[in-house]
């Protein structure tokens, strides 16, 4: 079996998705391609299936919050960034695809149909960052309880704590718990 010669992923993306590729950054030998989120699933499918690219493994999806009071935004287009770290086992190289997500309507199309591995990674980001993934099959909270308010990994979410339950304050705490009603 002959293996097709590797293609430059940035050139290939620019050629096939001229409108979607917004910017390309290099840092410490890592390539980041910043793309528009609208065509993301199609673009990922292209990266996975095109001969010469074959990014067949999804290593990680991470979200980052560029909240302004913590020195964020600056020249960045929006408050949230979602980075997809994909890996090609055939050519042994990595690529980072990044989309920026607006604060008012944080929605990204899901890539679970391209890599099922994205299922829980996206659920985690939805839970912790409050970014919705359109078309995700099961977008419930993952790590936090289902009745949790807020998204803990946002920079404006304080590093707080939950009140410890003692006999003197148990009633006060249970008042605010959703399951308490069924015990009435």
């Amino acid at each position: 079996m002959t293996i097709a010669a590797p293609l430059n992923p940035v050139d290939a993306l620019k050629q096939h998705f001229p409108d979607a590729v917004l910017d390309v950054r290099e840092f410490r030998g890592e390539t980041t391609v910043i793309v528009a989120s609208a065509e993301l699933p199609k673009l990922m499918q292209f990266l996975r299936d095109t001969s010469g690219l074959i990014y067949n493994y999804l290593s990680d999806i991470s979200a980052v919050d560029y909240w302004e009071p913590y020195g964020g935004i600056g020249d960045r287009p929006a408050r949230f960034g979602v980075s997809y770290h994909i890996y090609s086992m055939l050519y042994n190289r990595r690529l980072r695809i990044k989309v920026y997500v607006d604060e008012d309507d944080p929605v990204v199309p899901t890539v679970t149909q391209v890599w099922p591995a994205a299922n829980w990674l996206e659920r985690e980001i939805h839970d912790m960052m409050g970014i919705r993934f359109e078309g995700h099959p099961d977008l419930r909270r993952l790590l936090m309880p289902q009745d949790w308010q807020g998204h803990p990994h946002r920079r404006d979410y304080p590093l707080g704590y939950e009140t410890v339950q003692f006999s003197f304050n148990v009633e006060e705490i249970l008042k605010h718990k959703p399951f308490a009603r069924s015990q009435d």
Binding site: S59, D60, Y70, E124, L143, H153, P178
Partner: protein, 417 residues
């Protein structure tokens, strides 16, 4: 009492089983199949994993994992710590091989600030990582066997693990959460008593692995329980992002140590064992062989261990040795700056990946330009493996589910972080 809007909203929450209705089969709604909770306090879920099972008799129709019981907000906490202090938190993720977590985080920090690691530190790290691998596989083997009813293997495995924990104590002063790796090297040099202990262990250990194999490898009961169970096709394994021995059990030859070597792994010769059938038995064989390969790697590391500094000499990132503080004003300044403020890292993102005993741990690190990270995210192998559990466990008997959970080697601290 005045109830605020937010409290009102909390009281209005209407969550129920309706949320998961679309995830179970229609037979569950008519009561034809049974819903059963397994965990979070079940002894063979290897931690606090809760599985909501839909059962048709003993056969699993659907499996819905519920995680998060061990979520401790490690990633969120690291955002408020300087880079050096954050290492301590990474230990607590995968508590059976803390050094692998240290390694992932240190690699990311070193990449972000472009910090060198001296040759000696790299070799010491390899010794630590491979010892962690053996220790973690020993816990896996013991608990996996005890899940299937083989009691004595557990006791033997923990006896050997004890020797490794003793060595970790020599290295870092702690048996488990050593925080031994620091950005730029390791916390301190190898103590005098470490090498004799390590050599004694290596001389003894291969014989012990033979003992475990004698008990299990060709034991008909063990083979009946594990062969042909929990088969993962290689395509499925790749699509669901499995890694480590679980991926290699399906015959996919991918090991981060070979594919993208770190800490000088390219200079060691070792084999990557591969499975053929992708079943529980193959994953067992692979982990046992990996223990033998780790012994080989450590022996090579002992031979090549060079003299020299055990951490970087770059004083902007690594604190000076204690002895220098009495002689040099600069050392005092560096010491003070690093232990009060820490060092600054650029407002950029980096990605590092290591092969932990369980699979690929990746660390995504985003600096702020200041002394604290903006965001740290670890993708951990247990997380991906539990996500794929519904696919692997489908149509198996509930007793086999115990074997499958053991064979994908999960640690819930690793999953929930």
């Amino acid at each position: 009492m005045v109830v605020s809007d937010q409290q009102n909203e909390l009281m209005e929450w209407q969550g129920s089983l309706d949320d998961v209705k679309h995830l179970v089969s229609e037979r569950a709604l008519t009561g034809e199949t049974m819903m059963l909770n397994m965990g979070p306090h079940h002894p063979s879920t290897h931690g606090v994993l809760r599985l909501l099972l839909e059962l048709d008799g003993e056969e699993i129709v659907t499996c819905l994992p519920d995680v998060g019981y061990l979520h401790t907000g490690i990633e969120k906490n690291i955002e408020s710590k300087s880079y050096e202090k954050a290492v301590t938190l990474t230990d607590r993720m995968d508590y059976l091989s803390p050094m692998s977590n240290n390694m992932a985080f240190c690699l990311a920090v070193e990449k972000l600030v472009d910090l060198d690691v001296p040759e000696r530190a790299q070799v010491i790290r390899v010794i630590g990582l491979e010892l962690s691998r053996i220790a973690s596989h020993l816990v896996w083997l013991g608990t996996h066997a005890i899940d299937m009813g083989a009691m004595s293997v557990f006791l033997y495995c923990f006896r050997e693990r004890e020797h490794i924990l003793d060595m970790f104590e020599m290295l870092s002063g702690q048996r488990m959460m050593g925080s031994y790796f620091r950005p730029g090297g390791v916390w301190r040099d190898l103590p005098e008593e470490f090498m004799p202990a390590l050599e004694a262990f290596l001389a003894d250990f291969p014989r012990r692995v033979d003992d475990y194999e004698k008990l299990l490898t060709s034991n008909p009961l063990w083979m009946d329980r594990t062969q042909g169970i929990g088969v993962i096709e290689p395509e499925v394994a790749l699509a669901w992002g499995l890694s480590g021995p679980t991926l290699r059990g399906s015959g996919v030859n991918w090991d981060v140590r070979k594919a993208m070597p770190y800490s000088g792994y390219e200079q060691y010769s070792f084999d990557v064992p591969l499975g053929e059938h992708g079943d529980v038995y193959d994953r067992y064989i692979i982990r046992v062989r990996e223990m033998r390969e780790s012994v080989k790697i450590i022996q090579q590391a002992i031979k090549r261990l060079p003299k020299g500094p055990f951490r970087s000499e770059n004083r902007k990132f690594v604190p000076p040795p204690r002895a220098e503080l009495g002689r040099s004003m600069e050392a005092v300044i560096h010491h003070f700056k690093l232990w009060t403020e820490g060092f600054s890292a650029p407002d950029e993102e980096v990605f590092a990946s290591v092969e932990s005993p369980r699979g690929e741990i990746t660390c995504y690190l985003h600096g702020t330009g200041g002394n604290k990270p903006r965001r740290v995210h670890f993708k951990t192998p247990s997380f991906m493996h539990i996500a794929a559990l519904p696919v692997i466990a489908k149509n198996h008997m509930i007793a086999d589910l115990v074997a499958i959970i053991g064979s994908i080697d999960i640690v819930l601290g690793d999953c929930d972080r």
